[in-house]
Amino acid sequence: MTLPGLLDTDAIRKDFPILQRLLHDGQPLVYLDNAATSQKPQQVLDALTSYYERHNANVHRGVHVLAEEATALYEGARDKVAAFVNAPSRDEVVFTKNASESLNLVANMLGWADEPYRVDRDAEIVITEMEHHSNIVPWQLLAQRTGATLKWFGLTDDGRLDLSDIERVITEKTKVVSFVLVSNILGTVNPVEAIVRRAQDVGAIVVVDASQAAPHMVLDVQALGADFVAFTGHKMLGPTGIGVLWGRHELLEDLPPFLGGGEMIETVSMSSSTYAPAPHKFEAGTPPIAQAVGLGAAVDYLNGIGMDAIAAHEHAITAYAVERLLEVPDLRIIGPGTAQDRGAAISFTLGDIHPHDVGQVLDEQGIAVRVGHHCARPVCLRYGIPATTRASFYLYSTPAEVDALVEGLHHVRRFFGAG
């Protein structure tokens, strides 16, 4: 099976040691859980090892060789990430521990900010019904703690944002609009422009959760037009333990710090402190140094293949997967039913076989999918289902893996007496 637009996955898969692993009784691993986390190429593992074996030291503030090397590597990773998202300035890239911290950071900054940014009891916060919990709970907490009102866009039956009442949802009272660029459960790619335009009209800050976008497509923060963009290293071939918040320079300068501690200060006395300029103001304590270096190597790897080529590959795989999945009796896709404006995560239900059972039987065949509410429970509530099974693809996924999945689903149906 070959499809137009596919990458040379034979070559790529050689870079990923885990893809060589055999499971159970010698089954090859079919890893279709990429929306949860991606696997890591040898190049990233080597970057980590060489950092620890040769250069490890705490960054900044050191005059010795190791400290200078570690600082150059850490700050070099910032340069790479800044270029990767086309940031106007490297100082706009803040390293966090994951996308969740990035989003909480914004919510907290806005809660503690002075006017005109401050979210207070008169303010409205707008999110959507397809957000990951990490882009819901921080705003719920902010709303509870400030008295602000939380509003959201609902969803259409085919898994798209319902923007029909955009003027009523985003109003003059709206201080911040935060939404996901690509849904991790539905796969939907959202129409950024319409939302950003309306948000800018009312002077609201726009936050984009790009956790499922950065790994899979060209991400250009300038083209997006948002004020903040959050994403996470482990889903884009990088290590766990590192996330990114990109923010517009003026905002990072104006907004107050979140976590306090070493690295983020300018000068400290017992009675008061002043803070370092961004990005350091938002990086309290010893940063995830090795993880930043690893993320830098991941970005190099992605650039080496090309984000356009990766997007094309995933589009081809997704189109093929949608088509083949719909062959399976009783399978219902939750989310857009075509590959149009959708990412490479496909959620579905299979008759009344519970996703846990689907996942378990697939696992027995070496096929790793995720089951549950995928940290987006409101989506399950919206579609009246307890959970979904989700297959999600990446640059190393192959049509043969799609075939294995489909075969596996037929087996699931037989196992539970449905086929």
């Binding site: 159970h24 519970h354 996703p355 846990h356 059972d357 378990q360 039987v361 027995e364 089951v371 549950g372 509410h373 429970r377 399950c380 307890p386 959970a387 196992f415 539970f416 007496g417």
Partner: protein, 147 residues
Amino acid sequence: MKLDSMYQEIILDHYRNPHGKGLRDGDAEVHHVNPTCGDEITLRVRLDGPVVADVSYESQGCSISQASASVLNDLLVGKSVGDAQQVQEAFLELMQSKGQGEGDEEVLEDAVAFAGVSKYPARVKCALLSWMAWKDATAQALAQRPE
């Protein structure tokens, strides 16, 4: 196939035809969730003197959690609270045995079929959901009793 050790025929039967499902009168009601997978159960316990007179429930979840609630209903209803607690403890122990335990068929009856589940850490919580809910509800029902 290794899976068969988890999906015993007896489990699949209970899953397809759950016993005692539905909410009926009770002395205490609890709602438990398995946050790692979203399985949910609302469970009521009715006591009649020292006896577990009824365990009724509404639940949503996988075959394991559904079958487990059904087996619980079979096993505990009609027993004295003390005996039922012993069954609950035996079941808990079996589930925590990491595939090592077989379960005492005298005490656990049909529930020994869950022995294979204990090999699957992610599914142990599914199997335990209703049993933890029962324990909680029973404690509440007992606490409400006039001295």
